[in-house]
């Protein structure tokens, strides 16, 4: 069922929900961007509709709410291990369709690829998702080509139209609240994008043989291996373990996991001194094939959701979508049927 609410009424809904949930949505942090004075849009707790950034794309995704950039797993002394406690409140997360599709990718790795992850699971089961209707794509988006432009597995859907809030509910809790604060409207469905300015096509016969192509070479120099593309990506899930020892008690400390990037030096270093994919071009090939080939081989669907954040964040203006569009030519090159 659809509902229309004034922003005031919606703020009352949020206040009501706020008793049980911490509500997270993309927010604008003025001048908060790390490498210039521009605004940074990332996830933060909101209490009113006005705080939710709906006009612009978030630079960083909801990911860090489920997989914090740095997360303490447990505290240890020489003889004991004490599991880190979990945040008390349940969470409501506002997100667009591409990101809701990204949740499925995170679940794939953290709940199904091998044993389930205790820390992810205990946060994940606290979350309700509110889809933000998405009427028009941003420049770097290519969700339609990745098949992630529509979602219907939300708990509620939200869209601002002409200063009014439109909502749809699937979860009974939302239905009850909206019936109380809103007025029913027939036929509301959240908007979704049907075309994007950026298009990609991935060759049907893409294979690991593409590693032999020369397309990767230019990234040996162009890519500086900073890892921003991975940190901004809603589907990148890698982490590194870190043990921190306290200065006042050298035998006690905590084990954390910290977001890791396959583009950054050291990602593959083994204790004996071995290391793989030393060239940045090789790392680019590894990342690209993971996003649009390997994950699908393993799980049956593409990992990349086409959000375009990696393109937006790269300090070297490297475009991931442009690389995808070079894969056809790269396959021709390794098949030996391209014009030389």
């Amino acid at each position: 069922m659809g509902y229309r609410l004034s922003t005031d009424a919606m703020n009352q809904v949020l206040a009501e929900l706020g008793k049980q949930y911490a509500i997270y949505a993309p927010k604008c942090y003025p001048g908060g961007n790390t490498f210039s004075e521009v605004d940074c849009i990332r996830y933060g707790e909101v209490h009113t509709v006005e705080e939710i950034e709906t006009e612009r794309k978030s630079d960083y995704s909801f990911k860090e709410l489920l997989l914090p950039f740095s997360e303490t797993l447990f505290f240890f002394t020489e003889n004991t291990i004490q599991e880190a406690s979990v945040i008390e409140k349940d969470m409501v997360i506002f997100l667009r369709s591409c990101d809701l599709h990204a949740v499925r990718r995170l679940d794939e790795i953290y709940l199904r690829n091998g044993l389930p992850d205790f820390y992810y699971q205990r946060l994940r089961e606290k979350v309700q998702f509110v889809l933000i209707g998405c009427p028009a794509a941003f420049d770097s988006c290519f969700c339609v080509d990745m098949g992630t432009n529509r979602s219907d597995n939300y708990d509620a859907a939200f869209e601002l139209r002409g200063g009014q809030v439109y909502m749809a509910a699937r979860h009974p809790q939302w239905e009850a609240l909206l019936r109380q604060y809103g007025e029913p409207v027939e036929g509301f469905a959240p908007s979704y994008v049907t075309e994007t300015p950026t298009r990609v096509s991935i060759p049907a016969d893409l294979s690991p043989a593409v590693a032999k192509s020369t397309v990767w070479d230019e990234y040996d120099k162009r890519c500086i291996g900073c890892g921003r593309c991975n940190y901004a990506c809603p589907t990148c899930t890698c982490f590194t373990m870190q043990d921190i020892y306290y200065t006042d008690n050298a035998k006690a400390g905590e084990r954390r996991r910290v977001a890791a990037s396959c583009m950054v030096d050291g990602f593959t270093d083994v204790a004996g001194g071995g290391s793989y994919r030393k060239k940045h071009g090789e790392r680019m090939r590894f990342k690209v094939l993971h996003k649009v080939y390997d994950f699908k081989q393993r799980n049956g669907y593409q990992m990349c959701v086409g959000c375009g954040r990696c393109d937006d964040v790269c300090p070297e203006y490297i475009s991931f979508s442009a690389i995808l569009n070079k894969l056809e030519e790269a396959m021709q090159e390794v098949r030996g049927d391209g014009q030389q």
Binding site: N113, F118, F239
Partner: protein
């Protein structure tokens, strides 16, 4: 649904510390539970953190973990002695299925620390010679100072053909000199079509050894390898061990060569 917390390690008591070289020691740990040769544990090494360590021995109520001191990394563990304890979790991964080698000739080629993961396989055939047909072991180290399990090699000679070689014997006539690959062409293999081979060691050594074994007529599907990769979780989450669509911690570290040969780092 509550899932168990796989990241929490458990204490295991150090029963014995066996030094091999200046930087490599075997820790014999109290352990109850099933372990397969080739599987690994995530071992918490004080002041370093967790590292994946293959079991280098499986005993009655014990497992062996052969740990190498690397820089700042693994120093403190070497100050631990019998009676002290280490945090462990595991075992993880898919190891060697020794049943596959029953009644067959087996060629084992191992380089350096690559001897650790195959040691339980060698021990299996040492104690149960009736289960194999003939085992040939070629093991290579950089120099005399780098040899691991020296006493074991002497003992193994009772039951199998053992070639122990070093890259540089510094003129010591008692030590064979040369790369492991040099000994593959002359190896006595009665029935190459049915023989099985296991190759573990540094990447280049594995590549050349496999080429030499294939030239001897050993079939690709009869060759197994074990890969060493950075591993932070052991359970398919951290991504460090991934090669193509394979997670070494879940799908390996032991792979049949027909799978391993196409993997490109």
């Amino acid at each position: 649904m509550t899932v168990s917390n796989e990241y929490l390690s458990h204490w295991a008591e150090i029963r014995e510390v066996i030094p091999h070289t200046a930087i490599e020691y075997t820790f014999r740990m109290a352990y109850q539970g099933a372990v397969q040769p080739g599987q690994f544990f995530q071992v918490s090494i004080p002041k370093y953190g967790e590292a994946p360590i293959s079991v280098s021995g499986i005993g009655e109520g014990t497992i062996d973990l052969t740990i190498r001191r690397v820089g700042r990394v693994t120093n403190e563990v070497f100050e631990r002695y019998a009676g002290e304890r280490l945090f462990l979790r595991g075992p993880y991964g898919i190891g060697f299925d020794v049943e596959l080698y029953r009644g067959r000739e087996v060629v084992i080629v191992a380089g350096g620390t690559g001897v650790s993961p195959v040691r339980p396989v060698i021990e299996h055939f040492y104690w149960h010679p009736e289960l194999g047909r003939k085992v040939s072991l070629i093991a290579g180290f950089k120099s005399r100072e780098d040899i691991l399990f020296a006493e074991d090699f002497t003992r193994w000679q009772e039951q199998m053909d053992v070639i122990l070689t070093v890259d540089n014997n510094n003129g010591d006539p008692d030590l064979r000199q040369g790369l492991v690959t040099e000994y593959i062409p002359a190896l006595a293999i009665a029935d190459p079509a049915r023989a099985a081979a296991i190759v573990v060691g540094p990447p280049a050594m594995m590549r050349f050894s496999i080429q030499a074994l294939l030239r001897r007529g050993i079939a690709e599907e009869n060759i197994w390898v074990s890969y060493e990769r950075k591993m932070c979780c052991g359970i398919g989450k951290c991504g460090h061990c991934k090669i193509d669509d394979v997670y070494v911690c879940l799908d390996g570290p032991v792979f049949n060569y027909t799978r391993a040969k196409d993997l490109a780092d």
